[in-house]
Protein backbone atom coordinates (compact mmCIF):
# COMPACT_ATOMS: atom_id res chain seq x y z
CA UNK A 1 0.00 0.00 0.00
CA UNK A 2 1.30 3.44 -0.80
CA UNK A 3 2.40 5.64 2.08
CA UNK A 4 -0.04 8.32 0.96
CA UNK A 5 -2.99 6.05 1.59
CA UNK A 6 -1.73 5.01 5.00
CA UNK A 7 -1.42 8.65 6.00
CA UNK A 8 -4.93 9.23 4.64
CA UNK A 9 -6.24 6.39 6.82
CA UNK A 10 -4.34 7.86 9.77
CA UNK A 11 -5.99 11.22 9.09
CA UNK A 12 -9.40 9.56 9.02
CA UNK A 13 -8.70 7.82 12.35
CA UNK A 14 -7.62 11.13 13.86
CA UNK A 15 -10.84 12.65 12.59
CA UNK A 16 -12.88 10.04 14.51
CA UNK A 17 -10.82 10.76 17.61
CA UNK A 18 -11.31 14.49 17.09
CA UNK A 19 -15.11 14.04 16.93
CA UNK A 20 -15.07 11.90 20.07
CA UNK A 21 -12.95 14.44 21.97
CA UNK A 22 -15.15 17.34 20.86
CA UNK A 23 -18.23 15.53 22.10
CA UNK A 24 -16.59 14.92 25.49
CA UNK A 25 -15.44 18.53 25.66
CA UNK A 26 -18.97 19.79 25.04
CA UNK A 27 -20.31 17.40 27.66
CA UNK A 28 -17.75 18.73 30.11
CA UNK A 29 -18.40 22.40 29.34
CA UNK A 30 -22.18 22.03 29.57
CA UNK A 31 -21.90 20.05 32.78
CA UNK A 32 -23.52 16.96 31.32
CA UNK A 33 -20.42 14.81 31.75
CA UNK A 34 -20.52 15.06 35.52
CA UNK A 35 -24.15 14.07 35.72
CA UNK A 36 -24.91 10.37 36.06
CA UNK A 37 -26.63 8.83 33.07
CA UNK A 38 -27.10 5.35 31.72
CA UNK A 39 -23.71 5.59 29.98
CA UNK A 40 -21.67 3.22 32.09
CA UNK A 41 -18.94 4.73 34.17
CA UNK A 42 -18.64 7.99 32.29
CA UNK A 43 -19.80 10.14 35.16
CA UNK A 44 -17.28 8.51 37.48
CA UNK A 45 -14.47 9.00 34.98
CA UNK A 46 -15.41 12.44 33.71
CA UNK A 47 -16.18 13.87 37.13
CA UNK A 48 -12.89 12.62 38.57
CA UNK A 49 -10.02 14.96 39.35
CA UNK A 50 -8.13 13.47 36.39
CA UNK A 51 -10.63 14.92 33.91
CA UNK A 52 -9.13 18.39 34.31
CA UNK A 53 -5.47 19.36 33.92
CA UNK A 54 -4.52 22.79 35.25
CA UNK A 55 -8.08 23.98 34.85
CA UNK A 56 -8.35 22.76 31.27
CA UNK A 57 -10.68 19.84 30.48
CA UNK A 58 -8.63 16.82 29.43
CA UNK A 59 -11.12 16.29 26.59
CA UNK A 60 -10.20 19.70 25.17
CA UNK A 61 -6.51 18.81 25.32
CA UNK A 62 -7.40 15.58 23.55
CA UNK A 63 -9.35 17.44 20.88
CA UNK A 64 -6.34 19.69 20.26
CA UNK A 65 -4.04 16.68 20.01
CA UNK A 66 -6.38 14.91 17.59
CA UNK A 67 -6.75 18.00 15.43
CA UNK A 68 -2.96 18.36 15.33
CA UNK A 69 -2.70 14.68 14.42
CA UNK A 70 -5.32 15.06 11.70
CA UNK A 71 -3.59 18.13 10.26
CA UNK A 72 -0.17 16.52 10.24
CA UNK A 73 -1.46 13.26 8.73
CA UNK A 74 -3.31 15.17 6.02
CA UNK A 75 -0.20 17.19 5.20
CA UNK A 76 1.89 14.01 5.25
CA UNK A 77 -0.55 12.39 2.82
CA UNK A 78 0.08 15.28 0.46
CA UNK A 79 3.83 14.82 0.68
CA UNK A 80 4.87 17.26 3.39
CA UNK A 81 7.89 15.50 4.89
CA UNK A 82 8.19 17.76 7.94
CA UNK A 83 4.63 16.88 8.89
CA UNK A 84 5.41 13.18 8.50
CA UNK A 85 8.43 13.48 10.76
CA UNK A 86 6.38 15.24 13.45
CA UNK A 87 3.68 12.59 13.36
CA UNK A 88 5.81 9.88 14.97
CA UNK A 89 6.56 11.66 18.27
CA UNK A 90 3.02 13.03 18.44
CA UNK A 91 1.37 9.64 17.91
CA UNK A 92 3.76 8.04 20.40
CA UNK A 93 2.95 10.68 23.02
CA UNK A 94 -0.78 10.24 22.44
CA UNK A 95 -0.39 6.48 22.74
CA UNK A 96 1.46 6.81 26.06
CA UNK A 97 -1.15 9.19 27.45
CA UNK A 98 -3.89 6.77 26.41
CA UNK A 99 -2.15 3.93 28.25
CA UNK A 100 -1.93 6.12 31.35
CA UNK A 101 -5.62 6.99 31.11
CA UNK A 102 -6.61 3.33 30.77
CA UNK A 103 -4.52 2.58 33.85
CA UNK A 104 -6.35 5.35 35.75
CA UNK A 105 -9.74 4.01 34.70
CA UNK A 106 -8.88 0.41 35.57
CA UNK A 107 -6.98 0.80 38.83
CA UNK A 108 -7.60 4.26 40.27
CA UNK A 109 -11.11 5.36 39.29
CA UNK A 110 -12.29 1.77 38.80
CA UNK A 111 -14.80 2.70 36.15
CA UNK A 112 -14.66 2.78 32.39
CA UNK A 113 -16.10 5.33 30.02
CA UNK A 114 -16.71 3.97 26.55
CA UNK A 115 -15.94 7.31 24.91
CA UNK A 116 -12.53 7.25 26.59
CA UNK A 117 -11.97 3.64 25.55
CA UNK A 118 -12.93 4.51 21.98
CA UNK A 119 -10.39 7.32 22.06
CA UNK A 120 -7.72 4.93 23.33
CA UNK A 121 -8.48 2.47 20.52
CA UNK A 122 -8.26 5.24 17.94
CA UNK A 123 -4.93 6.37 19.37
CA UNK A 124 -3.57 2.83 19.21
CA UNK A 125 -4.67 2.40 15.57
CA UNK A 126 -3.30 5.83 14.68
CA UNK A 127 0.05 4.99 16.25
CA UNK A 128 0.19 1.69 14.35
CA UNK A 129 -0.74 3.43 11.08
CA UNK A 130 2.04 5.98 11.52
CA UNK A 131 4.56 3.24 12.28
CA UNK A 132 3.53 1.33 9.14
CA UNK A 133 3.71 4.49 7.05
CA UNK A 134 7.29 5.02 8.16
CA UNK A 135 8.25 1.54 6.93
CA UNK A 136 6.60 1.43 3.54
CA UNK A 137 7.92 2.94 0.34
CA UNK A 138 6.49 6.26 -0.73
CA UNK A 139 5.56 5.03 -4.22
Amino acid sequence: MRRTWIYAIAALLALFGFADAIYLTIEHVTGQSVRCTIIAGCSEVLSSSYAVVAGVPLALIGATAYFSAFSLATLAAFGYRVAASLLTPLSFAMFLVSLWLIYLQAFVIRAFCQFCLFSALITLLFFVAVLIARRVKSV
Partner: protein
Protein backbone atom coordinates in the same frame (compact mmCIF):
# COMPACT_ATOMS: atom_id res chain seq x y z
CA UNK B 1 -3.62 23.62 -6.20
CA UNK B 2 -2.34 20.34 -4.78
CA UNK B 3 -0.07 22.23 -2.39
CA UNK B 4 -2.90 24.19 -0.82
CA UNK B 5 -5.53 21.43 -0.91
CA UNK B 6 -4.50 19.90 2.47
CA UNK B 7 -4.78 23.31 4.11
CA UNK B 8 -8.26 23.73 2.65
CA UNK B 9 -9.24 20.29 4.02
CA UNK B 10 -7.81 21.13 7.46
CA UNK B 11 -9.61 24.47 7.60
CA UNK B 12 -12.85 22.87 6.41
CA UNK B 13 -12.66 20.23 9.15
CA UNK B 14 -11.94 22.91 11.74
CA UNK B 15 -14.90 24.95 10.52
CA UNK B 16 -17.26 21.97 10.57
CA UNK B 17 -16.02 21.04 14.05
CA UNK B 18 -16.65 24.53 15.41
CA UNK B 19 -20.13 24.73 13.90
CA UNK B 20 -20.97 21.23 15.20
CA UNK B 21 -19.69 22.14 18.66
CA UNK B 22 -21.81 25.27 18.68
CA UNK B 23 -24.87 23.28 17.58
CA UNK B 24 -24.32 20.50 20.14
CA UNK B 25 -23.96 22.93 23.04
CA UNK B 26 -27.46 24.12 22.22
CA UNK B 27 -29.00 20.68 21.80
CA UNK B 28 -27.29 18.12 24.02
CA UNK B 29 -28.58 14.59 23.47
CA UNK B 30 -30.62 13.00 26.22
CA UNK B 31 -30.61 9.24 26.13
CA UNK B 32 -30.94 7.32 29.33
CA UNK B 33 -33.25 5.01 31.15
CA UNK B 34 -33.86 4.29 34.78
CA UNK B 35 -35.99 2.04 36.89
CA UNK B 36 -39.61 2.93 36.30
CA UNK B 37 -39.36 3.75 32.63
CA UNK B 38 -42.74 2.19 31.99
CA UNK B 39 -45.76 4.27 32.83
CA UNK B 40 -47.60 3.13 35.92
CA UNK B 41 -50.37 4.37 38.10
CA UNK B 42 -49.56 5.71 41.55
CA UNK B 43 -50.15 3.56 44.60
CA UNK B 44 -53.54 4.23 46.08
CA UNK B 45 -52.58 3.23 49.60
CA UNK B 46 -49.24 3.49 51.30
CA UNK B 47 -47.86 2.88 54.74
CA UNK B 48 -46.45 5.77 56.74
CA UNK B 49 -43.09 7.15 55.79
CA UNK B 50 -40.73 9.36 57.72
CA UNK B 51 -42.09 12.65 56.44
CA UNK B 52 -45.58 13.52 55.42
CA UNK B 53 -46.54 15.91 52.64
CA UNK B 54 -49.75 17.86 52.88
CA UNK B 55 -52.64 16.09 51.15
CA UNK B 56 -53.59 17.59 47.83
CA UNK B 57 -50.31 19.43 47.45
CA UNK B 58 -48.50 18.23 44.33
CA UNK B 59 -44.77 18.75 44.50
CA UNK B 60 -44.55 20.02 40.98
CA UNK B 61 -47.16 20.93 38.46
CA UNK B 62 -46.10 18.57 35.67
CA UNK B 63 -45.38 14.88 35.20
CA UNK B 64 -47.19 11.78 36.39
CA UNK B 65 -47.44 11.38 40.17
CA UNK B 66 -44.55 9.71 41.95
CA UNK B 67 -44.72 7.55 45.06
CA UNK B 68 -47.03 8.98 47.70
CA UNK B 69 -46.54 10.12 50.29
CA UNK B 70 -43.28 11.50 49.02
CA UNK B 71 -40.21 11.93 51.19
CA UNK B 72 -40.16 15.60 52.04
CA UNK B 73 -38.55 18.18 54.26
CA UNK B 74 -40.03 21.56 55.11
CA UNK B 75 -43.62 22.81 55.00
CA UNK B 76 -45.70 21.91 51.96
CA UNK B 77 -46.81 25.54 51.51
CA UNK B 78 -43.21 26.83 51.32
CA UNK B 79 -42.67 29.43 48.57
CA UNK B 80 -39.77 27.42 47.11
CA UNK B 81 -40.54 23.79 46.31
CA UNK B 82 -37.53 21.74 45.28
CA UNK B 83 -37.77 18.21 43.92
CA UNK B 84 -34.62 16.14 43.43
CA UNK B 85 -34.33 12.98 41.37
CA UNK B 86 -31.34 11.17 42.80
CA UNK B 87 -29.37 7.96 42.69
CA UNK B 88 -27.53 7.00 45.88
CA UNK B 89 -24.65 5.47 43.92
CA UNK B 90 -24.15 8.48 41.66
CA UNK B 91 -21.05 10.51 42.70
CA UNK B 92 -22.48 13.90 41.61
CA UNK B 93 -25.59 13.15 43.71
CA UNK B 94 -23.27 12.50 46.63
CA UNK B 95 -21.62 15.84 45.99
CA UNK B 96 -24.99 17.56 45.77
CA UNK B 97 -26.18 16.07 49.07
CA UNK B 98 -24.29 18.49 51.40
CA UNK B 99 -25.45 21.39 49.24
CA UNK B 100 -29.07 20.41 49.76
CA UNK B 101 -28.47 19.99 53.51
CA UNK B 102 -26.99 23.49 53.53
CA UNK B 103 -30.00 24.90 51.66
CA UNK B 104 -32.39 23.17 54.04
CA UNK B 105 -30.66 24.69 57.07
CA UNK B 106 -30.38 28.09 55.46
CA UNK B 107 -33.90 28.52 54.12
CA UNK B 108 -35.78 26.54 56.76
CA UNK B 109 -39.54 26.88 56.40
CA UNK B 110 -39.26 28.71 53.10
CA UNK B 111 -37.95 25.64 51.29
CA UNK B 112 -39.83 22.41 50.71
CA UNK B 113 -37.62 19.53 49.56
CA UNK B 114 -38.78 16.28 47.96
CA UNK B 115 -36.50 13.36 47.15
CA UNK B 116 -37.41 11.04 44.30
CA UNK B 117 -35.71 7.72 43.58
CA UNK B 118 -34.06 7.53 40.17
CA UNK B 119 -31.60 4.61 40.35
CA UNK B 120 -29.64 4.22 37.14
CA UNK B 121 -29.18 0.56 36.37
CA UNK B 122 -26.87 0.06 34.67
CA UNK B 123 -24.32 1.55 35.26
CA UNK B 124 -24.82 1.59 39.02
CA UNK B 125 -25.04 -2.02 40.19
CA UNK B 126 -26.08 -1.18 43.76
CA UNK B 127 -28.36 1.77 42.97
CA UNK B 128 -31.61 -0.17 43.27
CA UNK B 129 -30.41 -1.90 46.45
CA UNK B 130 -29.58 1.50 47.96
CA UNK B 131 -32.92 2.98 46.90
CA UNK B 132 -34.67 -0.05 48.40
CA UNK B 133 -32.74 0.35 51.65
CA UNK B 134 -33.81 3.99 51.91
CA UNK B 135 -37.43 3.14 51.14
CA UNK B 136 -37.43 0.25 53.62
CA UNK B 137 -36.02 2.55 56.29
CA UNK B 138 -38.72 5.04 55.31
CA UNK B 139 -41.37 2.47 56.16
CA UNK B 140 -40.15 2.74 59.76
CA UNK B 141 -40.02 6.53 59.60
CA UNK B 142 -36.26 6.82 59.03
CA UNK B 143 -35.98 7.57 55.33
CA UNK B 144 -33.89 10.72 55.71
CA UNK B 145 -31.56 9.11 58.23
CA UNK B 146 -30.83 6.28 55.79
CA UNK B 147 -30.70 8.75 52.88
CA UNK B 148 -28.01 10.76 54.67
CA UNK B 149 -25.98 7.69 55.61
CA UNK B 150 -26.08 6.30 52.07
CA UNK B 151 -24.76 9.54 50.62
CA UNK B 152 -22.25 10.23 53.38
CA UNK B 153 -20.73 6.76 53.03
CA UNK B 154 -21.23 6.29 49.31
CA UNK B 155 -17.54 5.71 48.62
CA UNK B 156 -17.39 3.00 51.28
CA UNK B 157 -20.25 0.84 50.01
CA UNK B 158 -20.29 1.38 46.26
CA UNK B 159 -17.17 -0.75 45.76
CA UNK B 160 -18.51 -3.62 47.87
CA UNK B 161 -19.51 -6.85 46.18
CA UNK B 162 -22.49 -7.42 48.46
CA UNK B 163 -24.04 -4.31 49.97
CA UNK B 164 -26.84 -6.03 51.88
CA UNK B 165 -24.88 -6.56 55.13
CA UNK B 166 -23.54 -3.00 54.86
CA UNK B 167 -27.03 -1.55 54.57
CA UNK B 168 -28.27 -3.79 57.38
CA UNK B 169 -25.52 -2.28 59.49
CA UNK B 170 -26.80 1.18 58.59
CA UNK B 171 -30.34 0.11 59.49
CA UNK B 172 -29.09 -0.97 62.89
CA UNK B 173 -27.18 2.26 63.26
CA UNK B 174 -30.22 4.46 62.66
CA UNK B 175 -32.17 2.43 65.18
CA UNK B 176 -34.80 0.63 63.17
CA UNK B 177 -36.01 -2.95 63.51
CA UNK B 178 -33.53 -4.78 61.27
CA UNK B 179 -35.68 -7.88 60.83
CA UNK B 180 -38.64 -5.76 59.74
CA UNK B 181 -36.29 -3.77 57.50
CA UNK B 182 -35.13 -7.00 55.80
CA UNK B 183 -38.74 -8.00 55.14
CA UNK B 184 -39.65 -4.55 53.82
CA UNK B 185 -36.59 -4.47 51.62
CA UNK B 186 -37.97 -7.16 49.33
CA UNK B 187 -41.58 -6.03 49.54
CA UNK B 188 -43.65 -5.11 46.54
CA UNK B 189 -44.43 -1.78 48.16
CA UNK B 190 -40.78 -0.71 48.17
CA UNK B 191 -40.28 -1.82 44.57
CA UNK B 192 -43.42 0.02 43.50
CA UNK B 193 -42.37 3.27 45.15
CA UNK B 194 -39.07 3.20 43.25
CA UNK B 195 -40.88 2.43 40.00
CA UNK B 196 -43.38 5.23 40.54
CA UNK B 197 -40.66 7.78 41.25
CA UNK B 198 -38.81 6.61 38.16
CA UNK B 199 -41.96 6.94 36.07
CA UNK B 200 -42.47 10.46 37.34
CA UNK B 201 -38.88 11.33 36.46
CA UNK B 202 -39.29 10.01 32.94
CA UNK B 203 -42.54 11.88 32.46
CA UNK B 204 -40.74 15.07 33.50
CA UNK B 205 -37.88 14.49 31.07
CA UNK B 206 -35.28 13.45 33.63
CA UNK B 207 -32.30 11.93 31.84
CA UNK B 208 -29.66 11.76 34.54
CA UNK B 209 -28.96 12.42 38.18
CA UNK B 210 -29.06 14.62 40.06
CA UNK B 211 -31.90 16.44 38.34
CA UNK B 212 -33.50 19.20 40.35
CA UNK B 213 -36.76 21.03 39.79
CA UNK B 214 -37.64 24.22 41.60
CA UNK B 215 -41.30 25.14 41.58
CA UNK B 216 -41.78 22.81 38.63
CA UNK B 217 -38.95 24.19 36.52
CA UNK B 218 -35.73 22.28 35.99
CA UNK B 219 -32.64 23.89 37.48
CA UNK B 220 -29.77 23.57 34.97
CA UNK B 221 -27.17 21.11 36.20
CA UNK B 222 -24.44 23.73 36.01
CA UNK B 223 -26.48 25.90 38.43
CA UNK B 224 -26.44 23.34 41.24
CA UNK B 225 -23.35 24.60 43.11
CA UNK B 226 -24.43 26.15 46.43
CA UNK B 227 -23.75 29.79 45.52
CA UNK B 228 -25.82 29.57 42.33
CA UNK B 229 -28.62 27.44 43.77
CA UNK B 230 -28.93 29.83 46.71
CA UNK B 231 -29.55 32.76 44.35
CA UNK B 232 -32.19 30.81 42.40
CA UNK B 233 -34.03 29.80 45.58
CA UNK B 234 -33.88 33.38 46.89
CA UNK B 235 -35.34 34.58 43.60
CA UNK B 236 -38.20 32.09 43.85
CA UNK B 237 -38.96 33.11 47.43
CA UNK B 238 -38.85 36.80 46.49
CA UNK B 239 -41.08 36.14 43.50
CA UNK B 240 -43.63 34.30 45.67
CA UNK B 241 -43.60 37.21 48.16
CA UNK B 242 -44.63 39.68 45.47
CA UNK B 243 -47.66 37.65 44.45
Amino acid sequence: MKRILPFIIILAVLGIALVSAWYLTRTMPATTTAVGSQSQQPASTAPQTGSQPQPGQPVASKGVPGAEPAHTLGPANAPARLEEFGDFECPPCGMFHPILVEMHKEFGDKLHITFREFPLTPPHQHAVAAASAAEAAGMQGKFWEMHDLLYDRQKAWKTQFDVRPVFEGYAKEIGIDVEQYKRDLVSEYVAKRITLDGSRGHSMGVTGTPTVFLNGREVPFESLPADQLRVIIQREIASAGKQ
